[in-house]
Symmetry: C2
Subunit: 583 residues, 2 copies
């Protein structure tokens, strides 16, 4: 037994108790005749005291030699502190140390082990084991564990069964790029790491498991954007004999449970919004509804005046930025520059100040009179003191630009409070999306998503208009989960593959096992998957996922701590029957 | 809503209720004027009744056309059964059906969906989704889920934090063969899939996580023996500031908890046995102690008589098979043939019948008298009516042969009752074992295992005699978990790598990150890992793990259902900068 208590446990009730503690030296203060040491472990910090009068000389000397992050074990007596610290769980007491053992010394860490560290991202990643000693990272990992436990408990109590699906599966060209694993025993052949357990969970439904879930690693070999990881974790779920409504209810319940248990927040029933409505109102299929600034479409009031820019535009659309009528010319210009950056790509922006006296002042006063602008204010729900920003151009592009502006303004205005949670469902996603590059339709969700029966009549003539029984859960502007009712009929599934450009042979080769399974009594089924990394980060009030992953990879997919990936032996390559073919 | 209840839920309290059920047609009996259908889902079976008089004609006709495994939805009234079935949860009632919808038809399954199926292993694997509909497989998966939930709950309540470690890590030649994953973004380099999260969990201890666990997939590219899988699941654990005793107590507690919660069995404190004792007494480091038949060493009484075979042997050792004195000459010969098979490799076997009258009759009566044989009986703890079997030869080999015989006899004698649980700890494993092939020592557990301090004096002179702080948990003759106290000191770790034949450069290249971490304040730590597949199978009363894995691979590492591994596109190979180099 290295310790009788941990470093977060002792308080006034333990005074006069003999205790043994072990942990790391957070810091020490040497006043000459007295040495204080803050001893840290996962559970907290306890103050140790060594004093010339009361401490054995050799122990006292040893205490003076302790460096930061030394690992020590101490025996001593719990005594009352003279100056108490009400901010610390152990702030009422300290340990008068009688024995001190240095379990391990420590080199000076390359950055401070403090909540606000001086370490840069790359250094922290290289020494991630030191970074994890810091409260923000440690607490993020503990929080993640709590979330996962609550998810498992909630779903298990509803009779969901966690089933482990295989990691060594089959590569399919549909979707993102697979990571592949050469097989030594089956020369020239490869496994793939799963992008998701999609087909397996569907087979579990065919197999009668009824309610499945799994917290599972998934893999995508994509060029990494910031805050994407090549391996990521999903809460993957599937249910048989369900309609969309059943699924939404279960996972709305789960999310509500998490918010309540982990954040103490009760949220009302989640709003449900069609994809079409979300795009028209927020320019985005994952709207952040913590704040308003809904889109107001202005075509009817802004066109057919003398302003050519608007007249020639497919869409004229604006938002009212609350309280921004006071923006200076300089601030407005900066914002116009912001939307004109290549990442956003607007060609310009019109603004309308809604003065406190009810009048308007705009950058297009020579084309529009006060009554025109009043209509704009009505359409964008602008109040006195607001500023209306208006973009125009091709509809999809303009909506996406205005959505970016809306988010930027909300950030600047402090409207994206991470401790406010505004979940919603976005439903009725299109089944297909047109891909310019390949010149064909792609599945918006995946090829197993079932079209809405009432839209099936459009499938040959206007496939782009067919809606799917697909839904996303959105939280604070992030898609945290998505899913669909699946196809469970072989014929429809074949037709879908053919729509997506698969030849019958390709469909059979890649997904024959699934279509075959559908012939042996497949029940109606559907499900969804949450991105755990993102969910945990958002619940934890953070924008980035990296601190919620114990050992993340960098943007080149490298683990800089262990230095992976790395070269492997020629002998190993030979056994796998592969050769490098470097460019 | 496809159903108001499931198929295992309805009983006499529901009589006269209108219900909707959905599920699979288990079987139907058509008596002409009446049709009974057993409707099955995960939760049970409910009997449906369609009757010429009470059922609408079109529904009645449709009922007659239902085939096995059709997926249907029915509405109807719960009525009391005329002939009740007390063996079924729903045996008091049946459903008088008013509406019937066929949700999906089914081809005739390739094997019967019954507890005792007519399907062979390979067919069942190919149609695993049908196999999962069978109770034995379905219940095995549900049981596995329950075990995993209990493990998580127990450890979490003890402040263990589940941390997900990465799957894309670094390949190291030590240990078994890695599966590797070519990196597209880092050309010519490879990730490895983890054989275990060993180094990461140690880094978590350096990082102060204090108590870690994870239920995690691990990967080994080994030639598969029966009942081994290339991907398998571990309950992986690590604790800081612990001695061996602390770890044994925690995981003995966990195992006891599982036996109690899942099997209703209370077991006493686990016996602890040294490796040396286990090898001498059972010829095996994972002894099955559900039964006796301990080894009796006979050198002192059997040697220096005129029996040359024994005189020249390093070890003469026997066991007493209870009640086997009645074996016929034919049975004995069969057993002698059994030990002489190449898999066992004994060159012969001596036997001694312990007659009911206290006399002995042996195959070596011309060399040994009754008093000699009496000593053998004492050494093997043989009673009247038992048969002593004696093997001789090189010590290690002979022990291993006799151990195999002991297990075989126990199986034949019905002493391996799967519903009896006899756990124990085997401790004090050797640190190293000599490998003939490579002509060097290998780590018996792994290179991070700490030697016993009191044995350190032998490390240069007799490294094979150094014991480790390593332990295995053994249950019913299976190693279900193993672990060790780890090295937490850079110097000792370097020395260990050098003992294992690593050059300083190799050690640095492969494990530099770990030794580096040890310099920044590594706490004493240790842990263990359970094999979940095996643990669940044993708790479930089975010898083979395959039914406890949803989608297992066959002995060639293939998933015959999805047909993986498989060929991949040339384009994909090109992107990865590798070429096939088939022999």
């Amino acid at each position: 037994m290295y310790r009788s208590h941990n470093c977060g446990q002792l308080n006034a009730t333990h005074i006069n108790k003999e205790v043994t503690l072990a942990g790391w030296v957070q810091k020490s203060r040497d006043k000459g005749f007295m040495v204080w040491v803050d001893l840290r472990d996962r559970y907290g910090i306890t103050q140790l005291i060594f004093d010339e009068q009361r401490t054995d000389k050799s122990v006292f000397e040893k205490a003076k030699s302790l460096g930061r992050e030394f690992v020590i074990q101490v025996k001593g007596t719990v005594i009352e502190r003279e100056s108490k610290n009400a901010n610390m769980a152990t702030g009422d007491i300290e340990i008068l140390v009688s024995e001190l053992i240095v379990l391990n010394s420590a080199m000076l860490p390359p950055f401070t082990i403090e909540d606000d560290t001086d370490g840069g991202e790359e250094t922290r990643m290289k020494y991630r084991y030191l970074d994890i000693r810091r409260n923000p990272v440690k607490n993020a990992l503990l929080f993640r564990h709590k979330v996962a436990m609550e998810v498992r408990k909630y779903l298990s109590d509803l009779d969901f069964c966690e089933v482990e699906t295989p990691y060594l599966i089959k590569s399919t060209p549909e979707g993102a790029r697979d990571f592949v694993v050469p097989s030594r025993m089956n020369q020239g052949q490869f496994y793939a790491l799963p992008q998701s357990p999609q087909t397996f969970k569907q087979l579990l439904m065919v197999g009668g498991m009824d309610k499945y879930f799994q917290i599972v690693k998934c893999f995508r070999d994509e060029d990494l954007r910031a805050d994407r990881q090549p391996e990521f974790t999903q809460i993957d779920c599937e249910m048989a004999f369900v309609e969309q409504e059943d699924i939404l209810n279960v996972f709305e319940g789960l999310t509500r449970h998490l918010l309540k248990e982990l954040k103490g927040i009760e949220v009302a029933e989640f709003p449900r919004m069609t994809y079409e409505h979300a795009m028209k109102t927020y320019g985005n299929d994952k709207p952040d509804i913590r704040f308003e600034m809904k889109f107001g479409e202005l075509n009817s009031t802004a066109q057919h005046k003398d302003f050519g820019v608007f007249n020639s535009a497919e869409l004229v659309v604006g938002i009212a930025a609350p309280g921004c009528a006071s923006y200076t010319r300089k601030e407005i210009d900066a914002l116009i520059d912001w939307v004109k950056r290549p990442q956003i790509g607007a060609s310009g922006m019109v603004y309308v100040k809604c003065e406190e006296d009810g009048t308007f002042k705009s950058s297009v006063d020579k084309f529009y009179d006060q009554s025109d602008l009043k209509k704009w204010a009505e359409a964008t729900n602008a109040k006195a003191g607001d500023m209306i920003f208006v973009l125009s151009g091709p509809a999809d592009k303009t909506r996406s630009q205005l959505s970016a502006l809306r988010m930027e303004l909300a950030t600047r205005l402090g409207l994206r409070n991470p401790e406010v949670f505004a979940p919603l469902w976005v439903v009725d996603f299109p089944l297909l999306e047109w891909d310019e590059e390949s010149g064909r339709y792609h599945a918006m969700h995946h090829p197993f998503t079932s079209p809405k029966p009432e839209d099936m009549k459009l499938i040959e003539t206007e496939p782009g208009k067919v809606r799917a029984n697909a839904y996303d859960m959105v939280l604070n502007g992030n898609e945290i989960g998505g899913g669909s009712i699946r196809i469970h009929d072989k014929e429809l599934q074949s037709r879908m593959f053919s729509l997506l450009g698969f030849s019958p042979e390709q469909a059979e080769e890649q997904f024959g096992f699934l279509m075959n399974a559908f012939q042996f009594g497949a029940p109606p089924h559907g499900g969804l998957a949450f991105g755990l990394d993102r969910l945990v980060a958002i619940l934890g009030g953070q924008e980035t996922i990296r601190d919620f992953i114990a050992f993340p990879k960098n943007n080149s997919g490298r683990d800089v701590m262990i230095d992976a990936p790395s070269l492997i032996d020629d002998a190993q390559l030979k056994e796998l029957c592969i050769r490098l073919d470097l460019k």
